[in-house]
């Protein structure tokens, strides 16, 4: 089995992994970071989005071995020990989540979106979240949360 060494949420990790192991399964099953979710098997839903070297990536589209040497950040890595970060707080205020299953992926995609575009229009946000499916909210409150979160983060 190949051995991989990478950084996950700023912690160095190294592991022997099966060649066919997906990055999302490495994160969930091997590292026990269960905030990253699996909602489909065709890289459509976005519940598994994490950041790989700063880019939002559907972690079901990568093999764990492809993340060898990478910097990976998961929802656990962007969450404060207590409370919420400004974007998470905006999701809470605007009721941008219901069942919560798509939420970590949605937050990770939105954080990267705001990083790229600190003042996104609603159209930018809707386009940017097109790869993340939410079945509960109808998206309206998510869009509002991202707009609000971006504003807070701009200061």
């Amino acid at each position: 089995m190949p051995k991989i060494a990478l950084s996950v949420n700023s912690q160095p990790v190294s592991h022997d992994v099966e060649g066919r192991l997906l990055l999302v399964d490495f994160i969930r099953e091997v590292l026990g970071l269960t905030g990253t979710h699996v909602g489909c098997d065709t890289s459509q839903c976005g519940a598994c989005v994490v950041h790989v070297n700063g880019q939002p990536v559907k972690s079901c589209t990568l093999l764990a071995v492809q993340a060898d040497g990478a910097d990976v950040t998961t929802i656990e890595g962007v969450s404060p020990d207590q409370g919420l970060n400004p974007l998470q707080q905006a999701f809470h205020e605007k009721h941008g989540l219901q069942c919560g299953f798509c939420t970590p992926g949605m937050v990770m995609t939105a954080m990267a979106l705001i990083e790229d575009n600190p003042d996104p229009s609603d159209a930018d946000i809707r386009h940017g979240l097109e790869g993340n499916i939410c079945r509960c909210t109808g998206y309206q409150n998510i869009v509002e949360a991202v707009r609000t979160g971006a504003k807070v983060m701009r200061g």
Binding site: E18, R20, R28, L33, T34, G35, T36, H37, V38, G39, C40, D41, T42, Q44, C45, A47, T74, I75, E76, S79, G83, L84, Q88, F91, H92, E93, H95, L97, Q98, C99, G100, F101, C102, T103, P104, V107, D122, A123, I125, R126, H127, L129, E130, N132, I133, C134, R135, C136, T137, G138, Y139, Q140, N141, I142, V143
Partner: protein, 788 residues
């Protein structure tokens, strides 16, 4: 410390764990020593199983167990019965119900039907082992279309059920309708289809089960909406054991929408395997398997007929439906197209007479069971489509004929031909308010611009009538802790709706205690003696009223202790704003202080013990409630490409008393989005041999962030129902009920200059484009003729 009130948009307690990745969903649960199960599913829609050879799989390293239908029957396990409330044919005879076992017995009847369970050390090993099970099938002819399944020469699914007919149901006044049809100026007829879709909660189903030989009990964690009812089916029907032998828990559930309300075969298979192997077993569905094995919804072909006079007065409504329910009767599969679709026929309009007939038919597809609304979206769709169609056929204004025929408030209470008791509401007021919010006249200039750009503007309004459903009883238990915490256990269940907040809000508001002190528990058969779970928009109607009733009992108990503390008589005390007050002396004590005193032996009278304020209360619904409201949609359609863009969406709902408007908004928004998805892109398609064509998220079009418009939502709170003490009417499914006709009719309004009067959903670009090319040519009696 936060004081909360009823009607306040309290932010959710559950958000923090979901936002930080600390939610605990089914796939996050792992039990020590667990094995992994996968299901071998039928690749044929209809075939005889001649032989199953599992020796190759069993010889593989790491494979622990293979269970087939023969093994299952040999164990003596029973089938899972339907719990449909509608069980009689028109002629009074019983519906036809074939046995639904957890594994196929001798014959498969749909692609995806469980044929065997494989358990192995790991999930990949179990999946690899699937390929090593050799099933010898003899293929049979399949039928996947319900109208075709009724034809005399159709393939037969069950040897002892002639004509594939499960149930032939009717409701209403058949003769009265015939008389009105003979007398009315016009009878307008339209055949239409409410396409088959599926809920797709983003969390797939799964479960983890274990067995304890010392106590002979099972523990089942399951991504379900209904722990009590499903436990009962597993214990009493499948295993034939006492139901207390199974503890059934749903952890955080990632969406349900009805699809997790069914008794599925996988959980009992997992429990059996756990007992057999003496170790816990876990099973998680993947998305492709979910499309094959989750229940689907809608899927009705109907002829709708409206008797209408020249002046636009509605005289009668008749609907005849044929609906495929899959190869078996699922949990309430036969109910949705029968009673579920019958009751709200005719919507909020004043129809003197109505008649509804439907046949539920066995077909070689996966199962049908409730999907958000379970019949009411279908009924509203049928009603609103025929009204719009009639208006177009007769050159009447679709807004005006709706306005003219809406039931006036002074007509209420009123019992419809469908037996629905409409107690209160103001349909004209809700209608006019929606129209004012949407203000279609204000779009005139924009419509011109859109037309100049080669596209067309369309608008439609769709009033709807709803009714609640689901289990008629609910339990709420309140237990106080010496540390100030208040444990609230409720038998209804949130799968995302936020009961952890709204139920706690209700209790805290009623008792006048800090919201944060309430710890909410749900979906655990050990925590509440009964529970109706989630379904039929019953959360607040049943669960909320149970909480309110329990709060009343706590106040009653606490008043005795308060009187002792104040040295008053309980009869002299009033409870307001969280405090008991002696009307004579003016002395008062807060509920918080009374709760503290209940744990203080110094202050407790001799006849009371700590915990004396605890209560457990069962609320029973007298009659189902009637939520209602009105939707309006504005769209832009490109006749050259068939592309549809939603420009605006407006909703006014009468849900009675609103407990938390923030959460109610969320329910409406999500429901509307699901309706928009069904109208525009979602569609379950089988080929002629019964293979599922739309079996992944690459093929099944869910709405995305860029396809759902912002919505304007308001509530009419002028008519709280007296059918329950809280005055709530149910909010969970209404968004799905109003949105189908609003969007379809808006698109058809945009296409009126091309003569397009009907397109069956989903309104894909191709279908819209073809309808424009064909100048609206369609056969109004095209779909169901053969089955009438």
């Amino acid at each position: 410390m936060t004081d909360v009130t009823i009607g306040q948009p309290v932010r959710r307690s559950e958000d923090e764990r979901f936002l930080t990745g600390r939610g605990r969903y089914i796939d996050d649960i792992n039990l020590e020593g667990q094995a992994r199960a996968v299901v071998l599913r039928s690749v044929y829609a209809h075939a005889r199983i001649k032989n199953i050879d599992a020796s190759g799989a069993l010889a593989m390293e790491g494979v622990l167990l293979v269970v087939t239908g023969e093994d299952w029957i040999a164990e003596g396990f029973g089938p899972m019965p339907t719990k449909t409330a509608i069980r009689k044919n028109r002629d009074g005879s019983e519906l036809s119900e074939p046995p639904r076992h957890c594994l196929a017995i001798g014959r498969v009847r749909y692609v995806g039907e469980p044929v065997a369970l494989v358990v192995a050390e790991t999930d990949p090993i179990a999946r690899d082992a699937l390929d090593l099970i050799d099933v010898d099938y003899e293929s049979l002819d399949a039928v996947t279309d319900a109208v075709e399944a009724l034809a005399p020469d159709a393939p037969q699914l069950w040897d002892d059920i002639p004509g594939n007919l499960c149930i032939d149901f009717e409701l209403g006044d058949r003769e009265g309708v015939e008389k009105a049809f003979a007398e009315a100026d016009h009878v307008i007829t339209l055949d239409l289809e409410n396409n088959r879709v599926t809920a797709v909660p983003i969390e797939p189903r799964g479960c983890v089960g274990s067995y304890d030989p010392e106590t002979d009990t099972y523990l089942l964690y399951n991504s379900t909406q209904n722990v009590h009812a499903i436990r009962d089916t597993l214990a009493e029907n499948v295993f034939g054991i006492d139901k207390e032998k199974i503890r059934h828990i749903a952890p955080d559930v990632g969406g349900g929408f009805g699809v997790k309300n069914s008794a599925y075969p996988e959980p009992p298979l997992v429990l059996y395997a756990a007992k057999k192997l003496g170790r816990p077993v876990k099973w998680i569905n993947n998305r492709s398997e979910s499309f094959l094995s989750d229940t689907h919804g809608r899927g009705q072909t109907s002829r709708v007929q409206l008797a209408i006079d020249n002046d636009g007065t509605f005289r009668a409504l008749r609907t005849e439906t044929v609906a495929g329910i899959g190869a078996y009767c699922w949990t309430i599969g036969p109910f949705t197209p029968t009673g579920g679709s019958a009751r709200t026929q005719g919507g909020p309009y004043d129809f003197p007479v109505m008649y509804y007939r439907s046949r539920a038919v066995f077909i070689n597809t996966g199962p049908m069971d409730p999907y958000r609304g379970a019949g009411r979206p279908e009924a509203t769709f049928q009603t609103e489509r025929i009204i719009e169609y009639a208006a177009r056929q007769l050159g009447l204004d679709p807004i005006e004929i709706r306005r003219k025929n809406l039931m006036r408030p002074e007509k209420l209470p009123h019992k419809t031909s469908m037996g629905l008791n409409i107690d209160c509401g103001d349909f004209p007021k809700v209608f006019e308010r929606t129209l004012k919010l949407a203000d279609p006249g204000s779009f005139a200039e924009r419509a011109e611009q859109i037309k100049t750009a080669g596209r067309r503007f369309g608008f439609a309004i769709a009033p709807y009538l709803e009714c609640t459903g689901g289990g008629p009883k609910e339990f709420a238990g309140v237990a106080f802790g010496a540390d100030g915490t208040v444990s609230l256990s409720v038998g209804s269940q949130s799968t995302g709706m936020g009961h952890e907040t709204s139920m706690a809000q209700l209790l805290a508001a009623r008792l006048g205690i800090p919201f944060e002190r309430v710890e909410y528990h749900q979906a655990d058969t050990d925590k509440t003696p009964i529970g109706g779970g989630h379904g039929g928009s019953r959360g607040m109607e049943l669960g909320g009223n149970a909480v309110a009733q329990a709060a009343g009992e706590v106040i009653e108990k606490a008043s005795g202790l308060a009187a002792h503390l104040l040295q008053s008589k309980a009869a002299d005390l009033t409870f307001e704003g969280g405090s008991f007050k002696d009307s004579g002396s003016g002395a008062s004590v807060s509920m918080v202080e009374v709760i503290e005193a209940s744990f203080d032996s110094e202050r407790l009278p001799d006849d009371l013990e700590p915990g004396c304020l605890d209560t457990g209360s069962t609320f029973e619904r007298g009659e189902i409630s009637i939520p209602n409201g009105c939707h309006a949609a504005a769209v832009e359609v490109d006749p050259k490409t068939g592309a549809i863009l939603l420009l605006g969406y407006w909703v006014v709902d009468d849900f009675g008393t609103i407990i938390n408007p923030l959460l109610a908004d969320g329910q409406v928004m999500g429901g509307v989005a699901q309706g928009i998805g069904q109208v525009l892109t979602e569609n379950i398609v089988f080929d002629d041999s019964g293979q599922l064509i739309t079996g992944s998220l690459m093929d099944y079009g869910l709405p995305r962030a860029d396809g759902v418009p912002d919505m304007v939502i308001e509530y009419y709170e002028g008519a709280p129902t007296k059918k329950n003490p809280l005055g709530v009417k149910g909010a969970g499914e209404a968004g799905c009920v109003g949105s189908l006709p609003a969007v379809v009719n808006a698109v058809l309004d945009a296409l009126k200059e091309f003569g397009v009067v009907h397109i069956d959903i989903p309104l894909t670009s191709e279908k819209v484009w073809r309808a424009v090319q064909d100048q609206g040519a369609h056969d109004p009696k095209g779909l169901i003729e053969g089955a009438l």
